[in-house]
């Protein structure tokens, strides 16, 4: 009788020694580390990039607002192609040395190497500058500028005169 009591009490004592406070602490540490390791991890993502610019058909009046003021991007047009020159805002933006080109057709100015006001077309509602009276040297210079622009800046649109078919189509869309 007494033997059974002592054996059962020793069994109880054995069981009790497993659940000492120290053991419980270690079991808790194990459980928590297992939880954190096996928890499903969210996959890493990169922040969304800026949406691509939509290619637009510009007319001289609609191109004018894009001269860098009020956080607008800086665009300029060379031979019908509109370049986004916002990376070169220091030059082409407001208070820059070439600020006259911003939002305008810069072909003649680039061909002649001049930033004067009279290189830009005065009448925005009229036809575009045809550049027929430029000599070979100026055309060569213009081609060089155009190549540099296409390597450095992004083409975001094309420039057409007011009232042309393309302008009307673009307006409809």
């Amino acid at each position: 009788m007494a033997d059974i009591n002592t054996s059962s009490s020793s069994a109880v004592a054995e069981a009790a020694s497993f659940l000492t406070p120290l053991n419980i602490l270690l079991i808790a540490i194990l459980a928590i580390s297992m939880y954190y390791r096996l928890k499903p991890q969210p996959t890493p993502t990169l922040p969304a990039p800026t949406a691509p610019t939509v290619f637009q058909t510009f007319t001289p009046p609609t191109l004018l607002p894009f001269d860098g003021r009020n956080n607008a991007p800086v665009y300029l047009a060379v031979r019908g192609r509109v370049f986004d020159v916002t990376p070169g805002k220091n030059f082409y933006g407001p208070n820059g040395p070439y600020a006259n080109f911003a939002g305008r057709d810069a072909s003649r100015g680039l061909a002649s190497g001049s930033f004067d006001e009279d290189m830009l077309t005065k009448n925005l509602q009229g036809p575009l500058d045809t550049l027929t009276d430029l000599d070979d040297e100026q055309l060569e210079a213009l081609r060089g500028w155009e190549e540099r622009f296409s390597e450095k800046y992004l083409v975001v649109g094309k420039l057409v005169p007011v009232g042309s078919e393309e302008a009307q189509e673009a307006q409809k869309a």
Binding site: L22, L26, I27, I29, A51
Partner: protein, 570 residues
């Protein structure tokens, strides 16, 4: 002060005095569990940030379309991959190569076989045919070159240019395609094992002038009568039927149609034909390859013509889509488990030949073949299969009732994949392996499985979970590719190291990865799916590039580019 410290000290000693055997065991467990991944750290196969943005979008988009998406190998502003960059063997190392065509692929194979006797160190790949359960036949490249010459000269003698090929996957199929390339003939690849009226209609529609077909696959009389442009038939007879006479002419056509037998031609002209293939100056410009795209097995299909430029651009893109260490090499055995008439399989096979890998050809290869039957006596390292084959492999291997141990092994391997690592053979997996698919005579050899999804042809969808399971079952990396009728090769393909598993989207196709470097993909607005400045672009998938027949093709399905710039169905 000392009172608090003494009390604290007493409390700590009291707590630690309860240290017994169980405490030691638990402490060791905790230490092992925390320290094991630090000591045995495994790097993921690729950086997770590289998987977070896989393709590059153009910075400008046209109105009514999305941006144009390209692989990172071909940045915007640079031309897409157009060709194989083939150089003459004595050209300086960094000289520019030319695009090349299918003739250059066979010349590379021949050069590899030739150099075994000495000369430059071009590795040789073998060409094997797997016959049934017992036999694996090794073909001598010189003999195959001779057969190419024989069949090419024979067909050209009859003055025909359009050669229809109605054969299962076989060495004769490849020989005929190469013969057409060398001798200026235009092959028409007809899908095998179709009802004969469909085949005859296709032959008539493509105005085939010569037919190279498996003996007995088509009724001779119908062939003669229903295909009005046919002038010559070449039967390819298997060994068991060679005692019969196949030279009978079709009735009712008079002398219009001539009949020859492949093995007789080869036997007759073996001694008189050389192994040397016509060079580019002697030979004629290679003509277009016509393929058929069927929406359903047994139905009429769409006829598409590819130029050699299309094929070569697709082959080059497939070669460069894999990172340098994972590319096909002379130590690989490549098994096409789908028909050669699918351009994806054909471009991969030609890429394997060009990379001097060994190629195993089986005649049972078809869209729904059972992989374990096909690979019973070979151990391929790279397999290309259709989505039907992959789906049936998954269904056969994925068990409904497994033991707890197998489930645990499957769980640990899936976890390794989710962590970006390919599960390798460790002591644990050898003791307790998960269910493996029975692919290959030697387990563990398969390293790469290409699975193709066909646009508009009713392929079963493979979800992200099924692809991840296939990686566990086969122990190989799985690539899921989107293929279309008008595009040679594939439109887009998942990255080889992309093991990401997306739960909860059952029944829908997994994403198709990045466009290949021979194409660029954009999404054109439809009435229901449009691209706006917010969210992901949606629209009809339109593919442009040198691998597209006609330069530009709209696939007729709507797709989207997800956050990681991978292509997916909407």
């Amino acid at each position: 002060m000392s009172n608090i410290v003494e009390q604290l000290d007493a409390k700590i000693s009291a707590a630690l005095s309860g240290w017994n055997f169980y405490t030691t065991v638990l402490a060791l467990l905790v230490f092992a569990y925390i320290a094991y991944p630090i000591i045995f750290h495994d790097e993921p196969d690729t950086h997770p940030m590289l998987l977070a943005r896989q393709a590059s979008a153009s910075p400008v988009r046209q109105p009514g379309e999305s941006a144009v998406y390209r692989s990172l190998e071909v940045p915007h502003g640079y031309p897409l991959k157009t060709g194989l960059n083939v150089k003459e063997p004595d050209a300086p190392k960094w000289s520019g190569g030319r695009d090349g065509d299918l003739r250059d692929i066979w010349r590379q194979v021949a050069r590899g076989a030739h150099s075994e006797q000495g000369g430059s160190n071009v590795p040789a790949g073998k060409i094997l045919t797997v016959l049934g359960k017992e036999d694996v036949k090794d073909h001598d490249v010189g003999d195959v070159s001779r057969e190419i010459n024989i069949i090419g000269k024979h067909i050209r003698q009859h003055g025909v240019t359009r050669v229809a090929i109605y054969l299962p996957n076989s060495i004769e199929f490849l020989s005929t395609v190469f013969a057409c390339a060398f001798y200026g003939l235009s092959p028409i690849l007809i899908p095998y094992n179709q009802p004969s009226n469909v085949v005859l209609e296709l032959l008539q529609k493509t105005s085939a002038e010569c037919l190279v077909a498996a003996a007995g696959a088509l009724p001779l009389a119908d062939v003669g009568q229903r295909v009005s442009s046919l002038k010559e038939i070449v039967w390819v007879v298997e060994k068991s039927s060679r005692q019969m006479d196949w030279h009978q002419k079709p009735e009712g056509t008079g002398n219009r149609v001539g009949v020859s037998v492949w093995h007789d031609l080869v036997l007759d002209q073996k001694r008189t034909t050389s192994v040397e293939l016509p060079t580019s100056e002697q030979g004629s410009k290679p003509a277009n390859i016509t393929t058929i795209w069927q929406k359903k097995q047994g139905a009429m299909g769409e006829v598409i013509e590819f130029t050699h430029q299309n094929m070569v651009a697709a082959i080059a893109a497939q070669i460069s889509a894999l990172p340098a260490r994972q590319r096909m090499s002379p130590s690989d055995l490549f098994l096409p488990a789908d028909a050669f008439t699918h351009t994806y399989v054909l471009t991969l096979t030609l890429a394997a030949l060009f990379s001097h890998a060994s190629v195993a050809i089986t005649s049972v290869a078809s869209p729904g073949v059972d992989l374990s039957l096909v690979t019973r006596n070979i151990a391929p390292t790279i397999i290309v299969a259709s989505a039907e084959t992959a789906a049936s492999l998954h269904r056969a291997t994925h068990p409904t009732a497994t033991s707890g141990l197998k489930k645990f092994a499957y769980y640990t391997e899936t976890k390794a994949l989710a962590g970006g690592r390919m599960p390798t053979d460790t002591l644990l997996t050898r003791l307790n392996a998960p269910i493996r698919a029975a692919v290959g005579s030697t387990p563990g050899k398969l390293r790469l499985l290409f699975v193709s999804e066909r646009v508009g042809a009713g392929s079963p969808p493979l979800t992200s979970e099924q692809l991840s399971d296939l990686r566990v079952f086969t122990g190989a990396r799985v690539i899921y590719a989107l293929t279309a009728a008008q595009v040679a090769g594939a439109v887009s393909q998942t990255s080889i190291f992309d093991y990401r598993r997306e739960e909860g989207r059952s029944g829908t196709h997994s994403h198709f990865g990045v466009p290949l470097s021979s194409v660029e993909v954009k999404l054109v607005d439809t009435s229901t799916h449009r691209t706006t400045d917010k969210g992901n672009p949606e629209g009809e998938i339109t593919v442009l590039g040198p691998a597209v027949a006609g330069g530009k093709a709209a696939l007729g399905v709507t797709g989207t580019f997800r956050d990681d710039h991978t292509l997916a169905y909407v």
